[in-house]
Symmetry: C2
Amino acid sequence: MARIVECIPNFSEGRNKVVIEKIVDAVRNAEGIKLLDYSSDSDHNRTVVTFFGTPERVEQVILDMAAKVYENIDMTLQQGAHPRMGALDVVPFVPISEVTMDECVALAKRVGNEIASKFDVPVYLYEKAASAPHRENLAVVRKGQYEGFFEKIKEDKWAPDYGKAEVNVKGGCVAIGARVPLVAFNVNLGTDNIEIADKIAKTVRNLGGGLRFVKAMGVKLEDRNVAQVSMNLVNYEKTAVYRAFEMVKMEAKRYGVPVIGSEVIGLVPMEALIQCAEYYLQIENFSMDQILEKRIWE
Amino acid sequence: MARIVECIPNFSEGRNKVVIEKIVDAVRNAEGIKLLDYSSDSDHNRTVVTFFGTPERVEQVILDMAAKVYENIDMTLQQGAHPRMGALDVVPFVPISEVTMDECVALAKRVGNEIASKFDVPVYLYEKAASAPHRENLAVVRKGQYEGFFEKIKEDKWAPDYGKAEVNVKGGCVAIGARVPLVAFNVNLGTDNIEIADKIAKTVRNLGGGLRFVKAMGVKLEDRNVAQVSMNLVNYEKTAVYRAFEMVKMEAKRYGVPVIGSEVIGLVPMEALIQCAEYYLQIENFSMDQILEKRIWE
Protein backbone atom coordinates (compact mmCIF):
# COMPACT_ATOMS: atom_id res chain seq x y z
CA MET A 1 0.00 0.00 0.00
CA ALA A 2 1.25 3.46 -0.78
CA ARG A 3 1.56 6.48 1.52
CA ILE A 4 -1.77 8.23 1.20
CA VAL A 5 -3.19 11.51 2.47
CA GLU A 6 -6.75 12.66 1.93
CA CYS A 7 -7.41 16.35 1.36
CA ILE A 8 -10.88 17.90 1.49
CA PRO A 9 -10.60 21.57 0.49
CA ASN A 10 -13.72 23.75 0.71
CA PHE A 11 -13.91 26.83 -1.50
CA SER A 12 -16.44 29.66 -1.56
CA GLU A 13 -18.13 29.23 -4.93
CA GLY A 14 -21.11 26.93 -5.39
CA ARG A 15 -23.02 28.62 -8.20
CA ASN A 16 -20.83 29.53 -11.18
CA LYS A 17 -20.20 26.20 -12.92
CA VAL A 18 -17.48 27.60 -15.17
CA VAL A 19 -15.47 28.79 -12.19
CA ILE A 20 -16.10 25.58 -10.23
CA GLU A 21 -14.90 23.40 -13.10
CA LYS A 22 -11.81 25.56 -13.64
CA ILE A 23 -10.84 25.11 -10.00
CA VAL A 24 -11.60 21.39 -9.86
CA ASP A 25 -9.62 20.88 -13.07
CA ALA A 26 -6.47 21.58 -11.07
CA VAL A 27 -7.18 18.36 -9.17
CA ARG A 28 -8.91 16.27 -11.81
CA ASN A 29 -6.04 16.35 -14.26
CA ALA A 30 -3.22 16.03 -11.73
CA GLU A 31 -0.89 13.08 -12.10
CA GLY A 32 -0.88 10.59 -9.22
CA ILE A 33 -3.97 12.16 -7.67
CA LYS A 34 -7.39 10.58 -7.38
CA LEU A 35 -10.33 12.98 -7.36
CA LEU A 36 -12.92 11.11 -5.36
CA ASP A 37 -15.78 13.52 -5.30
CA TYR A 38 -16.80 17.17 -5.46
CA SER A 39 -20.16 18.66 -4.68
CA SER A 40 -21.43 22.22 -4.88
CA ASP A 41 -24.34 23.76 -3.03
CA SER A 42 -25.81 26.94 -4.43
CA ASP A 43 -27.58 28.02 -1.21
CA HIS A 44 -24.32 27.59 0.66
CA ASN A 45 -22.43 28.98 -2.35
CA ARG A 46 -19.66 26.54 -1.60
CA THR A 47 -17.92 23.50 -3.09
CA VAL A 48 -16.31 20.59 -1.24
CA VAL A 49 -13.64 18.59 -3.05
CA THR A 50 -12.22 15.26 -1.90
CA PHE A 51 -9.00 13.87 -3.30
CA PHE A 52 -6.16 11.48 -2.40
CA GLY A 53 -2.52 11.05 -3.15
CA THR A 54 0.96 10.83 -1.66
CA PRO A 55 1.82 13.71 0.70
CA GLU A 56 4.19 15.15 -1.94
CA ARG A 57 1.62 15.11 -4.73
CA VAL A 58 -1.16 16.42 -2.49
CA GLU A 59 1.05 19.32 -1.43
CA GLN A 60 1.68 20.35 -5.02
CA VAL A 61 -1.91 19.93 -6.12
CA ILE A 62 -3.50 21.90 -3.29
CA LEU A 63 -1.19 24.80 -4.19
CA ASP A 64 -2.21 24.56 -7.85
CA MET A 65 -5.83 24.53 -6.78
CA ALA A 66 -5.30 27.51 -4.46
CA ALA A 67 -3.89 29.49 -7.41
CA LYS A 68 -7.10 28.85 -9.38
CA VAL A 69 -9.26 29.76 -6.38
CA TYR A 70 -7.53 33.10 -5.83
CA GLU A 71 -7.65 33.89 -9.55
CA ASN A 72 -11.37 33.24 -9.81
CA ILE A 73 -13.11 34.10 -6.55
CA ASP A 74 -13.60 37.60 -5.19
CA MET A 75 -14.79 37.64 -1.59
CA THR A 76 -16.06 41.20 -1.87
CA LEU A 77 -18.76 39.79 -4.18
CA GLN A 78 -19.38 36.45 -2.44
CA GLN A 79 -22.41 35.64 -0.29
CA GLY A 80 -23.98 32.40 0.88
CA ALA A 81 -25.65 30.55 3.75
CA HIS A 82 -22.52 28.73 4.90
CA PRO A 83 -20.04 30.47 7.24
CA ARG A 84 -16.73 31.19 5.46
CA MET A 85 -13.56 33.14 6.09
CA GLY A 86 -12.03 33.15 2.62
CA ALA A 87 -12.12 32.16 -1.04
CA LEU A 88 -10.21 29.00 -0.16
CA ASP A 89 -12.00 28.46 3.12
CA VAL A 90 -10.80 25.27 4.83
CA VAL A 91 -8.13 22.72 3.92
CA PRO A 92 -7.93 19.62 6.15
CA PHE A 93 -5.35 16.88 5.61
CA VAL A 94 -6.26 13.39 6.82
CA PRO A 95 -3.77 10.52 7.21
CA ILE A 96 -5.10 7.43 5.42
CA SER A 97 -2.32 4.93 4.97
CA GLU A 98 1.33 4.72 5.99
CA VAL A 99 1.26 8.38 6.96
CA THR A 100 1.23 9.62 10.55
CA MET A 101 -0.82 12.48 11.97
CA ASP A 102 2.48 14.27 12.64
CA GLU A 103 3.30 14.11 8.94
CA CYS A 104 -0.11 15.62 8.14
CA VAL A 105 0.53 18.38 10.66
CA ALA A 106 3.89 19.08 8.99
CA LEU A 107 2.15 19.06 5.60
CA ALA A 108 -0.47 21.55 6.86
CA LYS A 109 2.31 23.83 8.08
CA ARG A 110 4.27 23.69 4.84
CA VAL A 111 1.17 24.39 2.78
CA GLY A 112 0.13 27.18 5.17
CA ASN A 113 3.51 28.83 4.85
CA GLU A 114 3.45 28.56 1.06
CA ILE A 115 -0.08 29.92 0.70
CA ALA A 116 0.69 32.90 2.90
CA SER A 117 3.83 33.80 0.97
CA LYS A 118 2.63 33.00 -2.56
CA PHE A 119 -0.87 34.47 -2.37
CA ASP A 120 -0.51 36.97 0.47
CA VAL A 121 -3.40 35.35 2.36
CA PRO A 122 -3.32 35.05 6.20
CA VAL A 123 -3.34 31.39 7.32
CA TYR A 124 -4.75 29.88 10.53
CA LEU A 125 -3.73 26.38 11.56
CA TYR A 126 -6.53 24.35 13.20
CA GLU A 127 -7.34 20.95 14.78
CA LYS A 128 -4.23 18.79 15.20
CA ALA A 129 -2.11 21.47 13.49
CA ALA A 130 -3.34 24.27 15.80
CA SER A 131 -0.66 26.43 17.40
CA ALA A 132 -2.74 26.91 20.57
CA PRO A 133 -5.71 25.08 22.17
CA HIS A 134 -8.19 27.89 21.43
CA ARG A 135 -7.48 27.48 17.73
CA GLU A 136 -8.29 23.77 17.53
CA ASN A 137 -12.00 24.11 16.82
CA LEU A 138 -12.67 25.27 13.26
CA ALA A 139 -16.00 26.89 14.20
CA VAL A 140 -14.23 29.04 16.78
CA VAL A 141 -11.44 30.00 14.38
CA ARG A 142 -13.94 30.96 11.66
CA LYS A 143 -16.27 32.89 14.00
CA GLY A 144 -17.00 36.38 12.66
CA GLN A 145 -16.47 35.14 9.12
CA TYR A 146 -14.82 37.01 6.26
CA GLU A 147 -16.45 40.31 7.18
CA GLY A 148 -15.49 40.04 10.84
CA PHE A 149 -11.84 39.17 10.21
CA PHE A 150 -10.95 42.73 9.29
CA GLU A 151 -11.22 43.42 13.05
CA LYS A 152 -10.56 39.95 14.51
CA ILE A 153 -7.18 39.63 12.81
CA LYS A 154 -5.89 42.65 14.76
CA GLU A 155 -6.41 40.89 18.12
CA ASP A 156 -3.21 39.32 19.46
CA LYS A 157 -5.16 36.16 20.21
CA TRP A 158 -6.08 35.87 16.53
CA ALA A 159 -2.86 36.82 14.81
CA PRO A 160 -2.47 34.49 11.82
CA ASP A 161 0.01 31.60 11.97
CA TYR A 162 1.45 32.60 8.59
CA GLY A 163 1.25 35.88 6.67
CA LYS A 164 0.83 39.41 7.97
CA ALA A 165 -2.11 40.44 10.19
CA GLU A 166 -4.09 41.93 7.34
CA VAL A 167 -7.01 40.32 5.52
CA ASN A 168 -6.49 39.82 1.79
CA VAL A 169 -9.52 41.76 0.58
CA LYS A 170 -10.19 39.59 -2.45
CA GLY A 171 -9.07 36.24 -1.00
CA GLY A 172 -9.96 36.58 2.71
CA CYS A 173 -8.18 34.23 5.12
CA VAL A 174 -7.90 30.43 5.20
CA ALA A 175 -7.90 27.65 7.82
CA ILE A 176 -5.50 24.79 7.20
CA GLY A 177 -5.35 21.75 9.45
CA ALA A 178 -4.87 18.04 10.05
CA ARG A 179 -7.48 15.68 11.50
CA VAL A 180 -8.61 12.05 11.66
CA PRO A 181 -11.32 10.97 9.22
CA LEU A 182 -14.86 12.00 10.18
CA VAL A 183 -17.63 9.43 10.31
CA ALA A 184 -21.07 10.84 9.57
CA PHE A 185 -23.46 8.48 11.34
CA ASN A 186 -27.19 9.06 11.87
CA VAL A 187 -29.61 7.06 13.99
CA ASN A 188 -33.28 6.96 13.07
CA LEU A 189 -35.90 6.90 15.81
CA GLY A 190 -39.33 5.33 15.85
CA THR A 191 -40.97 8.72 16.29
CA ASP A 192 -41.60 11.88 14.28
CA ASN A 193 -40.95 14.04 17.35
CA ILE A 194 -37.84 16.09 16.59
CA GLU A 195 -37.74 17.38 20.16
CA ILE A 196 -36.93 13.88 21.37
CA ALA A 197 -34.16 13.56 18.77
CA ASP A 198 -32.81 16.90 19.90
CA LYS A 199 -32.86 15.96 23.58
CA ILE A 200 -31.04 12.70 22.85
CA ALA A 201 -28.48 14.54 20.69
CA LYS A 202 -27.77 16.92 23.54
CA THR A 203 -27.01 14.12 26.01
CA VAL A 204 -24.93 12.06 23.61
CA ARG A 205 -22.63 14.82 22.41
CA ASN A 206 -19.49 16.12 24.07
CA LEU A 207 -20.98 19.59 24.61
CA GLY A 208 -23.78 18.09 26.72
CA GLY A 209 -21.55 15.93 28.90
CA GLY A 210 -21.78 12.95 26.56
CA LEU A 211 -19.13 11.23 24.47
CA ARG A 212 -15.88 13.12 23.96
CA PHE A 213 -15.68 12.91 20.14
CA VAL A 214 -19.34 13.14 19.19
CA LYS A 215 -21.10 16.14 17.68
CA ALA A 216 -24.85 15.67 17.39
CA MET A 217 -28.11 17.36 16.61
CA GLY A 218 -31.73 16.37 16.10
CA VAL A 219 -33.11 16.56 12.57
CA LYS A 220 -36.36 15.59 10.90
CA LEU A 221 -36.45 13.37 7.79
CA GLU A 222 -39.46 15.03 6.21
CA ASP A 223 -40.02 12.45 3.48
CA ARG A 224 -40.12 9.56 5.98
CA ASN A 225 -41.65 11.52 8.86
CA VAL A 226 -38.90 10.22 11.13
CA ALA A 227 -36.84 12.06 13.74
CA GLN A 228 -33.11 11.42 13.57
CA VAL A 229 -30.06 11.91 15.77
CA SER A 230 -27.51 13.18 13.26
CA MET A 231 -23.90 12.75 14.41
CA ASN A 232 -20.37 13.53 13.40
CA LEU A 233 -17.90 11.19 15.02
CA VAL A 234 -14.72 13.21 14.91
CA ASN A 235 -12.42 10.52 16.29
CA TYR A 236 -13.77 7.02 15.73
CA GLU A 237 -10.60 5.48 17.13
CA LYS A 238 -11.37 6.90 20.56
CA THR A 239 -15.17 7.14 20.43
CA ALA A 240 -16.25 4.08 18.48
CA VAL A 241 -19.37 4.03 16.30
CA TYR A 242 -21.00 1.27 18.38
CA ARG A 243 -20.62 3.34 21.53
CA ALA A 244 -22.44 6.30 20.02
CA PHE A 245 -25.10 3.93 18.67
CA GLU A 246 -25.66 2.17 22.00
CA MET A 247 -25.78 5.46 23.83
CA VAL A 248 -28.49 6.83 21.53
CA LYS A 249 -30.43 3.60 22.09
CA MET A 250 -30.03 3.92 25.84
CA GLU A 251 -31.20 7.52 25.94
CA ALA A 252 -34.10 6.80 23.58
CA LYS A 253 -35.44 4.28 26.08
CA ARG A 254 -36.42 6.98 28.53
CA TYR A 255 -38.91 8.24 25.94
CA GLY A 256 -40.11 4.76 25.07
CA VAL A 257 -38.76 5.33 21.58
CA PRO A 258 -37.12 2.48 19.64
CA VAL A 259 -34.16 2.81 17.26
CA ILE A 260 -35.43 1.79 13.84
CA GLY A 261 -32.25 2.07 11.80
CA SER A 262 -29.12 4.03 11.09
CA GLU A 263 -27.16 5.39 8.16
CA VAL A 264 -23.56 6.00 7.30
CA ILE A 265 -23.20 9.07 5.11
CA GLY A 266 -20.44 9.11 2.53
CA LEU A 267 -17.16 7.34 3.11
CA VAL A 268 -16.16 5.48 6.25
CA PRO A 269 -12.78 4.01 7.17
CA MET A 270 -12.90 0.22 7.23
CA GLU A 271 -11.66 0.11 10.81
CA ALA A 272 -14.58 2.18 12.13
CA LEU A 273 -16.98 -0.63 11.16
CA ILE A 274 -14.63 -3.55 11.88
CA GLN A 275 -14.41 -2.26 15.48
CA CYS A 276 -18.19 -2.65 15.72
CA ALA A 277 -18.09 -6.24 14.47
CA GLU A 278 -15.37 -6.93 17.06
CA TYR A 279 -17.51 -5.48 19.83
CA TYR A 280 -20.79 -7.19 19.01
CA LEU A 281 -19.23 -10.55 18.15
CA GLN A 282 -17.00 -10.30 21.25
CA ILE A 283 -13.95 -11.17 19.15
CA GLU A 284 -10.81 -11.62 21.25
CA ASN A 285 -7.36 -10.49 20.07
CA PHE A 286 -8.37 -9.37 16.61
CA SER A 287 -5.79 -7.62 14.47
CA MET A 288 -6.51 -5.50 11.40
CA ASP A 289 -3.77 -7.53 9.70
CA GLN A 290 -6.26 -10.39 9.59
CA ILE A 291 -8.27 -8.49 7.01
CA LEU A 292 -7.63 -10.30 3.75
CA GLU A 293 -7.80 -7.18 1.57
CA LYS A 294 -5.36 -5.35 3.77
CA ARG A 295 -2.80 -8.10 3.22
CA ILE A 296 -3.31 -8.06 -0.50
CA TRP A 297 -3.19 -4.31 -0.84
CA GLU A 298 -0.35 -3.54 1.53
CA MET B 1 -7.35 -2.95 -7.84
CA ALA B 2 -5.85 -5.78 -9.79
CA ARG B 3 -7.41 -9.12 -10.70
CA ILE B 4 -6.52 -11.40 -7.82
CA VAL B 5 -6.96 -15.11 -7.08
CA GLU B 6 -5.99 -16.78 -3.84
CA CYS B 7 -4.60 -20.30 -3.96
CA ILE B 8 -4.21 -22.50 -0.86
CA PRO B 9 -2.46 -25.72 -1.91
CA ASN B 10 -2.04 -28.45 0.72
CA PHE B 11 0.78 -30.95 0.25
CA SER B 12 1.58 -34.15 2.15
CA GLU B 13 4.87 -33.31 3.84
CA GLY B 14 5.02 -31.58 7.21
CA ARG B 15 8.24 -32.98 8.70
CA ASN B 16 11.18 -32.76 6.32
CA LYS B 17 12.16 -29.08 6.34
CA VAL B 18 14.49 -29.39 3.37
CA VAL B 19 11.70 -30.78 1.20
CA ILE B 20 9.15 -28.27 2.51
CA GLU B 21 11.41 -25.31 1.73
CA LYS B 22 12.23 -26.66 -1.74
CA ILE B 23 8.54 -26.85 -2.54
CA VAL B 24 7.66 -23.46 -1.03
CA ASP B 25 10.56 -21.89 -2.94
CA ALA B 26 8.57 -22.39 -6.14
CA VAL B 27 6.09 -19.86 -4.76
CA ARG B 28 8.34 -17.62 -2.70
CA ASN B 29 10.56 -16.59 -5.55
CA ALA B 30 7.86 -16.31 -8.21
CA GLU B 31 7.42 -12.95 -9.91
CA GLY B 32 4.09 -11.20 -9.37
CA ILE B 33 3.11 -13.64 -6.63
CA LYS B 34 2.70 -12.85 -2.95
CA LEU B 35 3.36 -15.73 -0.55
CA LEU B 36 1.16 -14.89 2.40
CA ASP B 37 1.79 -17.76 4.71
CA TYR B 38 2.76 -21.40 4.97
CA SER B 39 2.52 -23.66 7.97
CA SER B 40 3.55 -27.25 8.50
CA ASP B 41 2.23 -29.70 11.06
CA SER B 42 4.35 -32.72 11.83
CA ASP B 43 1.54 -34.79 13.40
CA HIS B 44 -0.57 -34.18 10.32
CA ASN B 45 2.55 -34.47 8.14
CA ARG B 46 1.13 -31.77 5.94
CA THR B 47 1.85 -28.20 4.83
CA VAL B 48 -0.66 -25.53 3.86
CA VAL B 49 0.54 -22.69 1.62
CA THR B 50 -1.39 -19.47 0.92
CA PHE B 51 -0.50 -17.20 -1.97
CA PHE B 52 -2.05 -14.59 -4.24
CA GLY B 53 -1.63 -13.29 -7.74
CA THR B 54 -3.34 -12.72 -11.06
CA PRO B 55 -5.07 -15.83 -12.46
CA GLU B 56 -2.34 -16.14 -15.11
CA ARG B 57 0.54 -16.01 -12.61
CA VAL B 58 -1.21 -18.30 -10.13
CA GLU B 59 -1.77 -20.89 -12.88
CA GLN B 60 1.92 -20.95 -13.76
CA VAL B 61 3.13 -21.01 -10.16
CA ILE B 62 0.89 -23.81 -8.96
CA LEU B 63 2.22 -25.95 -11.84
CA ASP B 64 5.80 -25.11 -10.85
CA MET B 65 4.97 -26.02 -7.27
CA ALA B 66 3.31 -29.26 -8.36
CA ALA B 67 6.52 -30.25 -10.18
CA LYS B 68 8.49 -29.83 -6.94
CA VAL B 69 5.89 -31.78 -4.97
CA TYR B 70 5.95 -34.76 -7.32
CA GLU B 71 9.75 -34.75 -7.44
CA ASN B 72 10.11 -34.78 -3.66
CA ILE B 73 7.19 -36.64 -2.07
CA ASP B 74 6.63 -40.38 -2.29
CA MET B 75 3.17 -41.44 -1.08
CA THR B 76 4.29 -45.04 -0.56
CA LEU B 77 6.38 -43.71 2.36
CA GLN B 78 4.03 -41.00 3.65
CA GLN B 79 1.94 -41.30 6.81
CA GLY B 80 0.19 -38.75 9.03
CA ALA B 81 -2.89 -37.93 11.07
CA HIS B 82 -4.58 -35.83 8.38
CA PRO B 83 -6.62 -37.54 5.65
CA ARG B 84 -4.91 -37.18 2.24
CA MET B 85 -5.32 -38.58 -1.24
CA GLY B 86 -2.02 -37.54 -2.79
CA ALA B 87 1.34 -35.79 -2.57
CA LEU B 88 -0.29 -32.61 -3.78
CA ASP B 89 -3.50 -33.16 -1.88
CA VAL B 90 -5.90 -30.26 -2.37
CA VAL B 91 -5.72 -27.10 -4.50
CA PRO B 92 -8.56 -24.59 -4.03
CA PHE B 93 -8.77 -21.35 -6.03
CA VAL B 94 -10.63 -18.47 -4.39
CA PRO B 95 -11.78 -15.30 -6.24
CA ILE B 96 -10.62 -12.23 -4.31
CA SER B 97 -10.87 -9.19 -6.52
CA GLU B 98 -12.14 -8.50 -10.02
CA VAL B 99 -12.29 -12.22 -10.72
CA THR B 100 -15.52 -14.22 -10.89
CA MET B 101 -16.17 -17.66 -9.46
CA ASP B 102 -16.64 -18.88 -13.05
CA GLU B 103 -13.13 -17.75 -13.87
CA CYS B 104 -11.82 -19.68 -10.86
CA VAL B 105 -13.72 -22.76 -11.99
CA ALA B 106 -12.15 -22.39 -15.45
CA LEU B 107 -8.75 -21.97 -13.80
CA ALA B 108 -9.28 -25.13 -11.72
CA LYS B 109 -10.16 -27.05 -14.88
CA ARG B 110 -7.13 -25.81 -16.83
CA VAL B 111 -4.79 -26.64 -13.95
CA GLY B 112 -6.48 -30.02 -13.46
CA ASN B 113 -6.02 -30.87 -17.12
CA GLU B 114 -2.38 -29.79 -17.06
CA ILE B 115 -1.53 -31.70 -13.88
CA ALA B 116 -3.10 -34.89 -15.22
CA SER B 117 -1.21 -34.71 -18.50
CA LYS B 118 2.15 -33.40 -17.20
CA PHE B 119 2.48 -35.53 -14.08
CA ASP B 120 0.22 -38.46 -14.90
CA VAL B 121 -1.81 -37.92 -11.72
CA PRO B 122 -5.62 -38.45 -11.67
CA VAL B 123 -7.48 -35.22 -10.90
CA TYR B 124 -10.86 -34.74 -9.15
CA LEU B 125 -12.67 -31.42 -9.45
CA TYR B 126 -14.53 -30.39 -6.28
CA GLU B 127 -16.75 -27.65 -4.76
CA LYS B 128 -17.79 -25.09 -7.36
CA ALA B 129 -15.68 -26.84 -10.00
CA ALA B 130 -17.25 -30.27 -9.34
CA SER B 131 -18.53 -32.18 -12.39
CA ALA B 132 -21.39 -33.74 -10.39
CA PRO B 133 -23.17 -32.93 -7.12
CA HIS B 134 -21.74 -35.95 -5.28
CA ARG B 135 -18.24 -34.56 -5.94
CA GLU B 136 -18.78 -31.14 -4.38
CA ASN B 137 -17.80 -32.04 -0.83
CA LEU B 138 -14.04 -32.50 -0.44
CA ALA B 139 -14.41 -34.89 2.50
CA VAL B 140 -16.60 -37.18 0.36
CA VAL B 141 -14.20 -37.02 -2.59
CA ARG B 142 -11.21 -37.82 -0.38
CA LYS B 143 -12.94 -40.62 1.54
CA GLY B 144 -10.85 -43.80 1.55
CA GLN B 145 -7.69 -41.74 1.23
CA TYR B 146 -4.59 -42.57 -0.81
CA GLU B 147 -4.71 -46.26 0.12
CA GLY B 148 -8.41 -46.61 -0.72
CA PHE B 149 -8.16 -44.94 -4.11
CA PHE B 150 -6.59 -47.96 -5.76
CA GLU B 151 -10.11 -49.51 -5.56
CA LYS B 152 -12.29 -46.36 -5.48
CA ILE B 153 -10.88 -45.03 -8.76
CA LYS B 154 -12.24 -48.05 -10.62
CA GLU B 155 -15.87 -47.24 -9.72
CA ASP B 156 -17.70 -45.40 -12.51
CA LYS B 157 -18.95 -42.94 -9.93
CA TRP B 158 -15.38 -42.07 -9.01
CA ALA B 159 -13.67 -41.95 -12.39
CA PRO B 160 -11.27 -38.98 -12.31
CA ASP B 161 -12.17 -35.78 -14.17
CA TYR B 162 -8.73 -35.72 -15.83
CA GLY B 163 -6.17 -38.45 -16.34
CA LYS B 164 -6.66 -42.19 -16.58
CA ALA B 165 -8.45 -44.23 -13.90
CA GLU B 166 -5.24 -45.41 -12.29
CA VAL B 167 -3.62 -44.05 -9.14
CA ASN B 168 -0.11 -42.66 -9.60
CA VAL B 169 1.65 -44.84 -7.02
CA LYS B 170 4.18 -42.22 -5.98
CA GLY B 171 1.98 -39.11 -6.36
CA GLY B 172 -1.51 -40.44 -5.55
CA CYS B 173 -4.46 -38.37 -6.76
CA VAL B 174 -5.35 -34.71 -6.26
CA ALA B 175 -8.50 -32.63 -5.66
CA ILE B 176 -8.64 -29.28 -7.45
CA GLY B 177 -11.48 -26.86 -6.96
CA ALA B 178 -12.88 -23.35 -6.65
CA ARG B 179 -14.64 -21.93 -3.62
CA VAL B 180 -15.48 -18.72 -1.74
CA PRO B 181 -13.15 -17.72 1.08
CA LEU B 182 -13.58 -19.67 4.32
CA VAL B 183 -14.03 -17.86 7.60
CA ALA B 184 -12.72 -19.79 10.60
CA PHE B 185 -14.76 -18.49 13.53
CA ASN B 186 -14.88 -19.96 17.03
CA VAL B 187 -17.19 -19.09 19.89
CA ASN B 188 -16.02 -19.58 23.48
CA LEU B 189 -18.49 -20.74 26.10
CA GLY B 190 -18.62 -20.00 29.81
CA THR B 191 -18.17 -23.68 30.62
CA ASP B 192 -15.47 -26.35 30.43
CA ASN B 193 -18.04 -28.95 29.38
CA ILE B 194 -17.11 -30.05 25.88
CA GLU B 195 -20.31 -32.07 25.57
CA ILE B 196 -22.31 -28.86 25.64
CA ALA B 197 -20.07 -27.34 22.95
CA ASP B 198 -20.55 -30.46 20.89
CA LYS B 199 -24.33 -30.43 21.25
CA ILE B 200 -24.47 -26.78 20.22
CA ALA B 201 -22.17 -27.46 17.25
CA LYS B 202 -24.49 -30.22 16.09
CA THR B 203 -27.56 -27.98 16.06
CA VAL B 204 -25.82 -25.01 14.44
CA ARG B 205 -24.24 -26.85 11.54
CA ASN B 206 -25.81 -27.79 8.23
CA LEU B 207 -25.48 -31.51 8.89
CA GLY B 208 -27.65 -31.20 12.01
CA GLY B 209 -30.40 -29.15 10.39
CA GLY B 210 -28.76 -25.83 11.24
CA LEU B 211 -27.30 -23.17 9.00
CA ARG B 212 -26.64 -24.11 5.39
CA PHE B 213 -22.99 -23.01 5.14
CA VAL B 214 -21.73 -23.80 8.63
CA LYS B 215 -19.46 -26.68 9.62
CA ALA B 216 -19.00 -26.97 13.36
CA MET B 217 -17.62 -29.13 16.14
CA GLY B 218 -17.04 -28.85 19.86
CA VAL B 219 -13.45 -28.54 21.08
CA LYS B 220 -11.77 -27.91 24.41
CA LEU B 221 -9.23 -25.13 24.91
CA GLU B 222 -7.09 -26.99 27.42
CA ASP B 223 -4.97 -24.01 28.47
CA ARG B 224 -8.02 -21.89 29.32
CA ASN B 225 -10.24 -24.74 30.42
CA VAL B 226 -12.96 -23.46 28.12
CA ALA B 227 -15.28 -25.34 25.76
CA GLN B 228 -15.55 -23.89 22.29
CA VAL B 229 -17.81 -24.20 19.27
CA SER B 230 -15.31 -24.25 16.42
CA MET B 231 -16.81 -23.32 13.05
CA ASN B 232 -15.92 -23.07 9.40
CA LEU B 233 -18.22 -20.67 7.58
CA VAL B 234 -17.92 -21.88 4.03
CA ASN B 235 -20.01 -19.14 2.43
CA TYR B 236 -20.11 -15.99 4.52
CA GLU B 237 -22.06 -14.17 1.83
CA LYS B 238 -25.04 -16.45 2.36
CA THR B 239 -24.56 -17.49 5.98
CA ALA B 240 -23.25 -14.38 7.70
CA VAL B 241 -20.90 -14.52 10.69
CA TYR B 242 -23.40 -12.74 12.97
CA ARG B 243 -26.04 -15.32 12.19
CA ALA B 244 -23.78 -18.19 13.25
CA PHE B 245 -22.77 -16.22 16.36
CA GLU B 246 -26.34 -15.45 17.40
CA MET B 247 -27.40 -19.02 16.80
CA VAL B 248 -24.66 -20.38 19.06
CA LYS B 249 -25.76 -17.86 21.72
CA MET B 250 -29.36 -18.93 21.35
CA GLU B 251 -28.60 -22.63 21.65
CA ALA B 252 -26.22 -22.03 24.58
CA LYS B 253 -29.11 -20.51 26.52
CA ARG B 254 -30.83 -23.84 26.91
CA TYR B 255 -27.84 -24.99 28.96
CA GLY B 256 -27.68 -21.75 30.92
CA VAL B 257 -24.25 -21.19 29.40
CA PRO B 258 -23.09 -17.69 28.39
CA VAL B 259 -20.94 -16.82 25.40
CA ILE B 260 -17.73 -15.32 26.78
CA GLY B 261 -15.94 -14.43 23.57
CA SER B 262 -15.06 -15.45 20.05
CA GLU B 263 -12.07 -15.64 17.75
CA VAL B 264 -11.39 -15.23 14.07
CA ILE B 265 -8.61 -17.55 12.95
CA GLY B 266 -6.31 -16.39 10.18
CA LEU B 267 -7.52 -14.14 7.42
CA VAL B 268 -11.05 -12.88 6.97
CA PRO B 269 -12.54 -10.97 4.03
CA MET B 270 -13.41 -7.42 5.03
CA GLU B 271 -17.01 -7.86 3.94
CA ALA B 272 -17.62 -10.76 6.35
CA LEU B 273 -17.11 -8.39 9.31
CA ILE B 274 -18.62 -5.28 7.72
CA GLN B 275 -21.85 -7.29 7.31
CA CYS B 276 -21.89 -7.80 11.08
CA ALA B 277 -21.47 -4.08 11.77
CA GLU B 278 -24.34 -3.45 9.35
CA TYR B 279 -26.55 -5.91 11.18
CA TYR B 280 -25.88 -4.81 14.75
CA LEU B 281 -25.89 -1.09 13.97
CA GLN B 282 -29.03 -1.56 11.83
CA ILE B 283 -27.41 0.41 9.00
CA GLU B 284 -29.80 1.05 6.11
CA ASN B 285 -28.69 1.00 2.47
CA PHE B 286 -25.01 0.51 3.10
CA SER B 287 -22.75 -0.10 0.13
CA MET B 288 -19.23 -1.54 0.26
CA ASP B 289 -18.24 1.36 -1.99
CA GLN B 290 -18.56 3.58 1.08
CA ILE B 291 -15.48 1.92 2.54
CA LEU B 292 -12.74 4.51 2.23
CA GLU B 293 -9.95 2.00 1.63
CA LYS B 294 -11.89 0.31 -1.12
CA ARG B 295 -12.15 3.60 -2.99
CA ILE B 296 -8.46 4.28 -2.61
CA TRP B 297 -7.36 0.84 -3.63
CA GLU B 298 -9.71 0.18 -6.49
